[in-house]
Assembly symmetry: C2
């Protein structure tokens, strides 16, 4: 079977006029080069390099093959360079908006990766839980979480990923107060609640069979900040409903446990909003693409 790497090895052996110099130029054992070139000759059923321990001569056929193989490698170098330049050439400023929760839990590492990949890009991030007007604020793209379909507008919306909300509590809390077995075990429990309007709360639970149950609970702490609620839960203050991805780390290191794993406490959608597809700068496009390509693996339900 054809092996394109043979081309690579062959070209270097020809250009360095020998196996040993090629091997040290490529920093690999010469035995490998030897076997690859032999394999190539065997496959093509033609001698490309005439060699003894002291002579090195590229045959006529070998010279012709070298021309093609060199062109192939040039094409490879062009491809690699194009990728690199696409990463390096991207520059300029991009402004984005997102909620506090998304900023803290969903895209933190992603933005760092993006900026490392495109070192000339400047990113301005406006973190707010209010919905603001993208166009008048000069924002290139925004991430919004929502439960229902967003209203039509001139804004371009693209679906990023689905996000389930789960119930969480600390292992200590659960062993102290008992692990709930059904939604009814949650009735009027002490809890933590996102947002402060209203100050009393109820969870709408849904299982895989599609059954829905609404359970009232008693929030001891209401906050806009998911991180505050999460750490309150870790400290054993009660049960909290949060997007699944916000607690993935706490679940894996055991500081939180999922309550009623068969039930979800909400289903939201993350969408990417951009003012208008035409006017987008290359940086904004790249960031949008990057988020579309990668966010779901960091945040999506299936991740």
């Amino acid at each position: 079977m054809i092996d394109l790497n043979d081309y690579y090895y062959f070209v270097h052996v020809v250009e360095k006029q020998g196996f040993t110099p090629a091997a040290q130029a490529l920093n690999m054992p010469k035995s490998r080069l030897s076997r690859h070139v032999s394999k190539l000759e065997e496959r093509l059923d033609i001698k490309l390099i005439q060699r003894t321990s002291r002579q090195f001569h590229v045959t006529e056929t070998g010279k012709m093959f070298y021309q093609h193989a060199r062109a192939l490698l040039d094409e490879m170098e062009a491809a690699e360079a194009a990728i690199e330049s696409r990463k390096l050439s991207l520059n300029g400023r991009v402004t984005m908006s997102c909620s506090l929760g998304v900023a803290q839990f969903a895209i933190k590492e992603l933005l760092v990766n993006f900026l490392q990949k495109y070192p000339k890009v400047e990113l301005v991030q406006q973190v707010t839980n209010q919905n603001i007007d993208l166009v008048s604020s000069g924002i290139d793209l925004a991430i919004r979480g929502h439960t229902d379909t967003l209203p039509d507008s001139s804004i371009i919306q693209r679906n990023l990923c689905a996000v389930s909300w789960h119930l969480f509590a600390s292992p200590g809390y659960l062993s102290d107060t008992g692990t709930p077995r059904s939604p009814y075990d949650l009735f009027k429990r002490k809890s933590l609640k996102i947002g402060w309007q209203p100050t009393n709360g109820h969870w709408t639970l849904e299982n895989k069979q599609g059954l829905k149950t609404t359970v009232p609970h008693h929030p001891q702490l209401c906050s806009d900040d998911m991180n505050t609620l999460k750490h309150a839960a870790i400290d054993g203050l009660g049960i909290v409903s949060l997007p699944a991805y916000t607690c993935r780390d706490a679940i894996s290191n055991g500081t939180l446990q999922r309550v009623l794993p068969e039930w979800t406490s909400g289903k939201a959608q993350l969408s990417l909003l951009t003012p208008s597809r035409r006017a987008q700068s290359p940086v904004a496009k790249a960031l949008a693409l990057y988020l579309l390509d990668n966010l779901h693996t960091h945040v999506g339900d299936s991740a």
Copy 2:
């Protein structure tokens, strides 16, 4: 590390619009394609194909990379086609001349391989032990064995390989008559001799230290045909001096043994003669090249 095969796999996945169709087109498990494309993306540190179990989307970067990768594959196909066409396109007649011994023992398999590689080539082989005039006989190339340097002429000469002559005899003969320990043990032995002029013979032996000894022997059979002499020796008729390569098979299967392995009974040179380098047809060039590239591995002392 860079792996050019990744380009190959990537191009096919893009062109077939999926891993499964590409896999069956290439007749390989899709798991391999999956890992290769993943590896490529990881190395380039960029997503090329956005894929879930039901969606397949080549990213902008992926499309650009595809253009280059496709060009690379085109170059590969050109290279492979050039090799094939070089093999197939070669046609026409080539006439060569050589001695009976060379024809029987040195180039028999080589010529078959050559003709299999270039199916449209016709080969005319004139086998004779006489030196004939290449130009007037319309011979494209000749192989000549000789001990001394050939006289200068308009003929192009290229060295093919050095050929040592050794002494051989059958194991039976040696056990019957005693295995010689030194050249003197050969004195006036019954023997087999190449050529018939003169009908009495003497061997000129030389060892690695450069010592030379001339020993007279008594030929019971003189013949121009090495094969006749070889089989006479196998049948136990006596000791024979022949080019080493003619008896390589008999040595390895045990029907002959080398006599006085420290001594050679002559040193010859095989040369390739061509009328004039300009006037050569492509076929003649190819055959000359083929013999230059391969003969020494079949015949040369080091083979």
